[in-house]
Structures are given as structure tokens and as C-alpha cells.
Symmetry: C2
Subunit: 203 residues, 2 copies
DNA sequence: ATATAATTTAACCAAATGGTTAACAAAAGT
DNA sequence: ACTTTTGTTAACCATTTGGTTAAATTATAT
């Protein structure tokens, strides 16, 4: 457990802000709440980060920086399809296990301002789905996997990786499981998702 | 297109409130905004629904009433497993296509207050997963499908049904598709998800 | 030591926000 | 006709909230 006393004021603010923003969203977060959690005066927040929006942007960028580059890298890497599926699902679930509240937070904000976000995340580059899509198409043509729309396959994969975290409280409710059981299940999903997908598409 | 003039004041409020709450969440929604959209005075909101929270609760209940009872019914119905999977995924995707913004809205609020929500939704009854779980276990023992944890299978199914809507703007961004293309894909998923699952688990 | 820059705080402010009040209008009972 | 209930509004209020200011304290450089 890291004690806040060991951190610089700026770090303390970031730790506190992350928690408050992720729990409450942009509009639900209170600057006073962040200040209290960071054990500083509210004016200091504005001294370090000019406004609520500016502070939020820092937190949000940190969050997306964790969640997106990995997709990019693996999607466009040069390994065989099944390996790619195994690696992506494993690594992605691992990332999200370490940051279980980020997906819902990020998805919310993308929903609220898709345009602003698109530019920020991808700039002028094309998102990296095409390479993976092409790879899937090629495997189908070669007769190595069953026919399936690449878009759907990718959506399925992403869904099974991310959704359990977005729907965590609901899943815990419906399935009546506690934190530890949930965590264990997510650990299992690191390999289970790939097995499930590959079983479905391999000939 | 239904004109608001034809609706009673209460209905006008509900229509407006649903839109504002679903778009902005509880904390992000403004009572004035709802009043404006319903073309009434703000005080009337408090005349019909005592407070913001009360109004929210009505909207929220309406939303969950759409999303949850279906799960219940199908999960505990007495049809063969594959039929059940086909029916659930089809019906559920259909419901969510008609209400694409409800899942994110509902998941957010469950996240913010899981306890209050649990009681409201299920009361004292057990959630209805057990029957489906048992059915899956039985099929595995009979050797009709490959071994898989029922919990994971159910989570996978739910993920593929719901996530595309929760992550809609992100998916549109990453895959570079417009509203119509997205809608078409979701239509396809009514049958595709079941095919995908069954292909994975059948022997 | 002294001047300069970086941190930190208490007090304050304007705008936004949920909610109330009192008066008025329309509808429904009698 | 008139009394009561229901529906509607403008004006107002208290609180919350993001943000500012000016002064004080601490660290840093000269």
C-alpha cells in the first residue's frame, strides 16, 4: 500500500482525481472531493491543474493510454491468427484485471463526446483493424477456418474480454459471486476466451 | 414521429426525462433541461415527481423492466439448450436494438449503487442463473457438448449480446462504420451469436 | 542574509442547480 | 352558482460548485 505522504502533491492529486473521476464520471466528480482525498486545499487543484476539465483530461488520457495502444500493437503484429487471438485476449484481460474500472469510465466518456475523442485517440491515422480483418479473410479463403465476418469475430473477441468488467456488479449480482470468485473467474478468462473462439472457428 | 402535444403532461415529462437521464446519467442530468424538453415549467416537474431522484427512479425502473425480465423467462424455460441459446441471443439483441442506450445507462447506475439495486431488482428471489447452469452441466455430463464452465458460457453469451451496444461509439470509431452499417451488423448478430457459441461447444 | 520563485491556504464570488412558495387558471364535483 | 381539486406558472431561495484572489509560508538561488 502506497502512502500518500510519500507522494508529491501533484501525484497525490492525480491518485485522488483518478479515483473520484473513475467512480463518478466527469459530471459526478466534485473538485472538493478530490481535494479532500488528496488531503490538500481546493485552490491547490487549480494551481496545479487549471480547471476540472483539464484535470479530467489528464486522467482520461492516462486511462486510454493503458487500454488502447495494446490493441494497436497486437492487431497489426505479424504472428499467426490463432496466436494473435491467444495473445490479445490474454494480454487484454490481464490489463483490465489490473484496471477493472477503466473500461466503463472510458466507454462513458467516448459516448458523451465521440468526436472529440476520435481525434484525440487516433489523430489522423486509421484505426488498426484492417490488418487483422485481412488476416482473417485470408485464413478463410485458405480454408483454414470456418467462414465468419471478420468484424463480428473481432467484436465477439472484444466483447468477451471487456464486458465482464463493464458489467461486473451486474454479473456478481446475477451469479451471486464475491470479489475473490470474480477475480478468479477473470484469471481463467485469460486463456478461456481464446479457447472458446478458436473452438468455434477452426475446421 | 409522436408529437409531444398529443401526450399528457406526465407522459411528456417521462419522454423528456428518459432522454436526458439516459444521455447524461443521474448526476449529469439537469431538471431545467428536462423541463425545457417537455416544454413545461420546472416547478411542474416537482409537482408530478417530487424530486430528481424520484423521477430518476421511475425512468430507471422502466429501463430495467425492459432489460431483465426476458433473461429470467428464457433462462428458466424448459426448452433444449441450443434452442435456448438461439432464443435468448435473438430476443435479447432484438430488445437492445430497440433500446440501444439502455444498457450503458443501467450498468452505470448498478455500478454506482449495487446494493440498493440488487434489492430492487430481485427482492428476495434468487436470480435465475441456476437452472441454465444446471442444464449446461447436464449436457456436458451426457457428452452432448464439450466441457465448459457454465458461468463462463453464460458470461460469453451475455457479453456478445450486450457489449456491442455499450461500446457502440468505440466500435464505430475503431471499425469506421456509420449508423446504418452498425444497425445492419446488430441485425446479423441476432443469429450470428448463437451460431458462434454453438459451433464452439457442440461436439 | 536576502531576494526570488514555488507552494499552500482561508476567504470570497458568481453561476448553476434542486427545490419551494404563493398566486392564478382550469376542471370537476356539488 | 360555488366550492374544491388539479394543473400551471413566475419569482424566489438556499446550497452547491467551479473557480479566483491576496496574503502567508516554504523552498531555492544569489
Amino acid at each position: 500500500m502506497v502512502k500518500k505522504k510519500d507522494l508529491s502533491t501533484e501525484e497525490k492529486i492525480l491518485v485522488a482525481a483518478k479515483k473520484v473521476f473513475v467512480e463518478n464520471g466527469l459530471s459526478g466528480a466534485r473538485m472538493q472531493d478530490i481535494a479532500d482525498k488528496a488531503e490538500i486545499n481546493k485552490a491547490l487543484l487549480h494551481y496545479y491543474f487549471k480547471s476540472k476539465e483539464k484535470l479530467f483530461e489528464v486522467i482520461f488520457k492516462e486511462a486510454t493510454a493503458k487500454l488502447f495502444p495494446k490493441i494497436n500493437t497486437i492487431f497489426s503484429s505479424d504472428i499467426p491468427l490463432f496466436d494473435k487471438i491467444r495473445q490479445f485476449t490474454h494480454d487484454y484481460v490481464e490489463i483490465v484485471i489490473e484496471n477493472p474500472y477503466l473500461p466503463l469510465f472510458v466507454l462513458n466518456e467516448i459516448n458523451k463526446q465521440p468526436h472529440a475523442f476520435s481525434q484525440k485517440l487516433f489523430g489522423n491515422d486509421q484505426p488498426p483493424v484492417h490488418k487483422l480483418s485481412a488476416q482473417i479473410e485470408k485464413e478463410i479463403k485458405k480454408g483454414l477456418i470456418k467462414p465468419i465476418s471478420p468484424a463480428h469475430l473481432i467484436i465477439n473477441m472484444l466483447s468477451m474480454c471487456v464486458f465482464p468488467f463493464v458489467g461486473k456488479p451486474m454479473i456478481q449480482l446475477v451469479m451471486n459471486i464475491d470479489e475473490i470468485q470474480f477475480r478468479n473467474m477473470m484469471e481463467q478468462r485469460k486463456t478461456m476466451i481464446a479457447d472458446f473462439i478458436i473452438a468455434s472457428i477452426k475446421k
